[in-house]
Amino acid sequence: MDLVESHQEELRFARGRVVRALLIAGVAIAIAVPFSGQPAWIVRGTLIAITAIGVLGQNLLIGHTGQISFGQAGFLAIGAYTFAHVQMLPWPLALLVAGLAAAVAGVLVGFPSLRLKGPYLAIATLGFGIAVYQLLANASWLSGGRTGVAVQRPPMEWLYWQDVLLLAIFALATVNLISSYAGRAFMAVRDSEIAAEAVGVNLTRTKLLAFAVSSFYTGVHGALFAQFLGHLEPELFNLGEVLTLFVAITVGGLASIEGSIFGAAFVVLAPAVFGAARWAVPVLFGGSIIVVLVFEPGGLAGGLRKARVALEQWPFR
């Protein structure tokens, strides 16, 4: 056990040894990938970084705030298409606009969450996702119809560094957010709405904030995805994408930052393992949700936490 002597010390970033070890390992891997000289790994690394940003955001909503939402595909699409339409702006600004557009949509979709709970909210948000998809599929002025919309794509190596750096920024911001009053309010709403209100947490504001922040992340995810693909069509944003993000959250670990990154790595790398047998991927995803929920509801991050406790107490117990 270590001795904490001040509040500053307790609130310091990455105080635990395990957290620091994970952090160093993560940075080492991120730096090693481009030097591997394997283009496939650079592509995978980029995709993991992009996906992890979206998973972090949805985990804030589902894991921390406890609002089960299936609207991810809609926010992704809004982020992606907004980015495509404003790509003449300087890149950081275009990214910001894409995130904000999704955040505004997030607030609108969040309103039902003030009334609906659990599966009912999930259904309502699912409806939003489908509506966005249908809109894109039918409004060719938005989606470019059958030809789709082209997005300017920088060289892959550049994209890799850009997206890994962005992931680092988003992960750090998330760590800071959830350890602040706002993050605590999110978790308070998840654990007991009645108690949250009794201590003065405004449910409306907190839920809408969670929706706004998480959709901002997902919007940025969508924008980066558009940039990564270089080309957009509505088919990209169907229900499969919802499943992928949901699998990443569940397998990685609810309400966990490292878990979000593990989960993103899982959904990107698992299809690569199967290669030709692509039909097996949804089976694997569905199966992994069942396995995780039955055997380790904390996901990969929860398993890691348990392993750590077991290791600390070994050989006692």
């Binding site: 009053y181 654990d191 007991s192 108690a195 009794a198 003065g200 405004n202």
Partner: protein
């Protein structure tokens, strides 16, 4: 109450109905600054309904609730909390997934200056000030060993204390306690009675509590009201209230 200073809380003619069930029928009382008042009554007499009306969880059908000269009617629970009223719950409502310290910090939530930019950039001056306040409560309620333990992993008696500490963290003017002694062992009840007594002195609190353990209630409250089937059937000192035939009937049935 001519001898007492201005009333902090006044409840008048409060009525609440759930469909055909009339949970409260014209209940009224007033509570002076610094006073302790117990609400007693058998199960289903409307004690918790009364609390839920005051704290904003239910909207009464008729009557008025005035706190510090302003009406509380129609306010949501978080606004009532902001006005300076904290509460505990009969069956504990804690943030089970969070450690004890975070539960207390949530008790400080309404005192935080809300600044999202500071949250994203990890500016923690505000946080540290509130943590210091929480440490005082942890020390006061002997919660040191559980500081970083998830509340779900704490024993019931400890959870009960955490809920009390969280309510105190709000620094309320009025504290509503719903059965502070229920589910506790004899020894734990003694402790709670001691803490409540200490708290009143230390934080200058006004206390309104529901209890059906008459002995516990009479030890803490110089004055009590008794409810039965939603109606106020008695008011006065513990001895006066317990002498009322209506109270004995409510507790023991018509044979008494």
């Amino acid at each position: 109450m001519a001898d007492l200073p201005r009333p902090l809380l006044t409840v008048e003619g409060l009525s609440l109905a759930f469909g055909g069930i009339r949970a409260l029928r014209g209940v009224g009382f007033s509570l002076a600054e610094g006073e302790t008042l117990a609400v007693i009554g058998p199960n289903g007499s409307g004690k918790t309904s009364l609390f839920n009306c005051i704290s904003g969880a239910y909207t009464p059908g008729a009557g008025s609730i005035t706190f510090q000269g302003k009406s509380l009617l129609g306010l949501s629970p978080d606004r009532v909390a902001r006005r300076g009223i904290a509460r505990t719950f009969q069956n504990l409502r804690l943030f089970l997934g969070l450690p004890v310290i975070d539960n207390l910090l949530l008790g400080r939530h309404l005192h935080f200056r809300k600044n999202l930019a500071a949250a994203f950039f990890r500016l923690r001056g505000e946080e540290i000030r509130h943590r210091e306040k929480c440490e005082e409560l942890i020390e006061f309620l002997d919660l040191e060993p559980y500081r970083n333990v998830r509340v779900a992993d704490c024993a019931y008696g400890v959870q009960k204390r955490v809920e009390l500490a969280r309510a105190l963290a709000l620094e309320p003017r009025l504290l509503l306690l719903d059965e502070p002694a229920s589910g506790l062992t004899g020894e734990e009840k003694e402790e709670v009675a001691y803490w409540l007594h200490e708290m009143r002195g230390r934080f200058g609190l006004t206390l309104l509590f529901v209890e059906h353990d008459l002995r516990f209630a009479s030890r803490l409250a110089p004055r009590m009201i008794a409810l039965d089937r939603g109606e106020k059937i008695a008011e006065g000192t513990p001895a006066e209230v317990q002498r009322q035939p209506a109270v004995a009937r409510a507790y023991l049935g018509d044979a008494a």
